[in-house]
Amino acid sequence: MSLTSIVTQMLMGLTVGANLILLATGLTLVFGLMEIINFAHSALFMLGAYVGYTTYRLSGSFWLALLMAPIAMALLGGVLERFLLRPLREKYPTSHLLPLLLTFGLTLFFEGVAKMIWSADIVSLPKPAVLGGVITPAGVTLPIYWIFALVTAGVLVCGLWLLVERTALGLKIRAATQDPTMAAILGVDVKRLNTAVFALGSALAGVAGVVLGALTSLYPQMGLTFVIDAFIVIVIGGLGSFKGAILGSLLLGQVQSFGVALLPEFTNPLVFLVMAVILIFRPSGIFGAVQRRS
C-alpha cells in the first residue's frame, strides 16, 4: 500500500467511525442511565430522517430539516418514555426483557407507520449545495459533505461531554447512572431525568437520521443496518460508557476500512473477531462499568 492509500483508508475509516458515533452515543446514553437496550433507536433514527425529508420537501431547506428532526424525535421519545416505558418499568422494575421487547415492538410498529406515510420506495434527502463538491488535500479525495458529517459527530461529542461533565443536569445524570436509589433519596427527580435523557437520546437519533440519510438513502427499514453496527460498537466500548462508544466507533471504523483494503474476503468476520478478542480480555467492554448494585 502506498502512503496515499494508507492515509485515505485512515480517513475513510474515520468517516465510518463518525457515522457510528452519531448513533452509538444516543444508544449508550440511554443505556447508561436506564439500563434499557433501546431497539427503538433504529426507528427514531429512521423517523428522524423522514421528518427531515418531509421538512425538506416542504421548505427546500436542509438546515431546517436538520433542526426539525431532532425536535420532533425528542418530543416523540419523551412521549414514548413517559407513557409506555415508565409505566412498564414501574410495574416490572426488575425486568430487562420487557423494555427490550417493548422497544423492539415499537420499531416494527414505526416501520409499518413509515411505510403507510412515505411508502416503501427508496428516496433521497438532497444535500445542501454549500456542502457539495470535494477537496483533495495531498491527493486524497474528500467530499465536503463527509467532512460535515465528521464535524457534526465531533460537535455532538463535545456538546454531550460538556453537558454530562460540566452542568448541573450532567451531575444528576452521572449520579443517577451510578446509583438511582441514592440519587432519588438525595432529591434528584430520577423519573423526570429518565424522560429527559430518553428525549435527548431520541434527538440524537434524529440528527443522525438527517445527516446519514443524506449520505445514503431513506426507506422504512433503514435503521436496522446502522443500528446493528452501533450495537457492536457499544458492546466493544462497554455498555453505557460514553468514552467507550466513541472509542468503539473509531476502532470499528478503522477495522472496517483497513479490512476492506487488506483482507477484502475477511472484512465481515474481522469485525466480530475484534469484538470477540476484546470481550475475552475485557468481558464488559473496553470501558465497561463494574457490575452495578441492584
Binding site: I122, S217, V260, N268
Partner: protein, 395 residues
C-alpha cells in the same frame, strides 16, 4: 372453555375447512384460485409492491373472468424470508387450494419453495427470482420464469465489457449468493474473452458507507468495474461513487444496480452507468409505448419498471394458458404446453420460453443512464439471450 363450547367451535371450524372442497365440486362458475406470494414487507417491499402492481394491471387488462369463471386471488407476504415463504406457500396450496402459485422476488425464498411446489404439482409462475439453479439441476416442469436468470443478467456483460469498455475490470458485489454467483458469471465470460480481473471486493449486504472501497479500486486502475448491489446498497454506492469523483472508472452491472425504483433516489450521480436488463421503460417499440401509457393511467404516480412489466407478462401467460384449457385449471399438462409454445407480445419485445428449462428466451438490452430526462436508454441489444444448458431435466 367448557366442553360444549369446544365441540361447537370444532364443528364450526371443521365445516369451514370442508367448504372449499365442497365448493370446488360445483363446476363452471366456481372461481379459479390463484395464490400470489411476494415480499410485501421488510427489505424487498418496494420490489414486491411493484410486481404486484404489474400483476393487478394485467388482471384489469385481461378481465375478471375466464370463460365465465372469476379469478380469485389469495395474497401472502413472504417478507423475503425463506422459511416464512415455505409455510405461506403450504398455506396457499393446502388451505386455500390454489391451482396456480405466483411467487416470488427473493432467490432465497424461491429456492426454499421449489421442492414443495414441484412435489405438489402446482403451476408455479415466477415473476422475478433469478436463481440459476431453477434453470439447471433444480428446474421443474411446473415452473416458468418471467424475468431472467442470474446468468442472463451477468454473463453477457463479460463479453460486452471486454469488447466495448476495456481489457481489465474490477469486481464489486454484495457478499451473498446472488452477488457471488453473478460475479462468477461475469469473471468467467470476461476472462474467456481475454480480459483480466484487476481486483475484487465483496461488501456485506447492507453496507452504507462505501468510502473504504474506493481507494483500493482506484489503486487497481481498471478502465471499468462490474458492480452488483441491490436496493439501498445500490443507492448508497452510486451516490458516493459520484461524490468521490470515481467516474473515470466506468461502471456496468445488472439492472438492479440502477433500476427505475432506485433511479430517482440516485439522481444525477447515476448518469453514465451501464446496465443490462430484459426490460427498459424507454425502449421504443409500439407494445412498450402502449404499456407505458396504460400502466401510468392504471397506477398514477408510478413508473413502468422491470418488476411490473414482468408481472404483466406473467398475467398474459396465465390468462392465455387458462383460456386454452377452457378454465380447467386441473389440467396442468395443457397449461404447461400452452406456455411452452407461447410467443408473448411483451413490452420488453418478443418473449418465449426455452422448452428445455422453462427459462425465458428474450433480447437483453445494454443501457446507459442519461441526464435529461433521467433514465436508462438502450445502447445495444443482445438478441435471443438463452440460459446455457446446465443439466436441467424437466420432470
Amino acid at each position: 372453555m367448557n366442553r360444549r363450547r369446544f365441540l361447537k367451535t370444532t364443528a364450526t371450524l371443521a365445516a369451514t375447512a370442508a367448504l372449499p372442497a365442497f365448493v370446488r365440486e360445483v363446476g363452471a362458475s366456481t372461481p379459479i384460485r390463484v395464490g400470489i406470494m411476494l415480499p410485501l414487507s421488510k427489505v424487498m417491499t418496494a420490489l414486491g409492491d411493484s410486481t404486484l402492481s404489474g400483476l393487478m394491471f394485467g388482471h384489469k387488462q385481461f378481465g375478471a373472468e375466464i370463460d365465465g369463471r372469476p379469478i380469485e386471488f389469495f395474497r401472502e407476504d413472504d417478507a423475503s424470508d425463506p422459511s416464512l415463504g415455505l409455510s405461506k406457500v403450504r398455506k396457499l396450496v393446502e388451505k386455500d387450494n390454489v391451482d396456480i402459485v405466483i411467487a416470488t422476488v427473493s432467490s432465497g425464498v424461491a429456492a426454499a419453495i421449489r421442492n414443495y411446489l414441484h412435489d405438489s404439482k402446482r403451476l408455479w409462475l415466477n415473476p422475478i427470482a433469478t436463481n440459476d439453479t431453477l434453470a439447471e439441476k433444480e428446474c421443474s416442469k411446473y415452473h416458468f420464469r418471467f424475468s431472467a436468470s442470474g446468468w442472463q443478467i451477468a454473463a453477457p456483460l463479460g463479453t460486452w465489457g471486454k469488447a466495448k469498455l476495456g481489457d481489465r475490470a474490477y469486481v464489486l458485489a454484495s457478499n451473498y449468493a446472488y452477488g457471488q454467483q453473478t460475479s462468477a458469471h461475469f469473471k468467467k465470460t470476461f476472462t474467456a474473452a481475454g480480459g483480466t480481473i484487476a481486483g475484487e471486493a465483496f461488501p456485506p449486504l447492507g453496507t452504507n458507507n462505501f468510502a473504504p472501497y474506493f481507494q483500493p479500486m482506484r489503486d487497481a486502475k481498471p478502465p471499468f468495474a462490474f458492480v452488483n448491489l441491490v436496493g439501498s446498497d445500490a443507492v448508497a454506492f452510486v451516490k458516493q461513487y459520484a461524490e468521490f469523483g470515481m467516474q473515470t472508472i466506468k461502471v456496468i452491472g445488472p439492472v438492479n444496480l440502477i433500476d427505475e425504483t432506485l433511479l430517482p433516489a440516485q439522481g444525477e450521480a447515476a448518469v453514465g452507468i451501464y446496465s443490462i436488463s430484459y426490460y427498459t421503460p424507454s425502449y421504443d417499440i409500439p407494445r412498450n409505448r402502449w404499456y407505458s401509457k396504460a400502466y401510468k393511467e392504471f397506477a398514477p404516480g408510478k413508473e413502468p419498471d422491470h418488476f411490473n412489466a414482468a408481472g404483466f407478462d406473467l398475467m398474459q401467460a396465465l390468462y392465455g394458458a387458462v383460456k386454452s384449457t377452457r378454465g380447467d385449471v386441473s389440467n396442468k399438462e395443457k397449461l404447461i404446453q400452452w406456455i411452452e409454445s407461447a410467443k408473448l407480445d411483451s413490452p420488453r419485445g418478443p418473449l418465449r420460453f426455452d422448452p428445455k428449462n422453462h427459462n425465458p428466451i428474450q433480447d437483453q438490452h445494454i443501457r446507459i443512464v442519461e441526464a435529461k430526462p433521467l433514465r436508462s436508454v438502450v445502447v445495444d441489444t443482445l438478441k435471443d439471450s438463452t440460459h446455457p444448458d446446465g443439466g436441467c431435466k424437466l420432470a
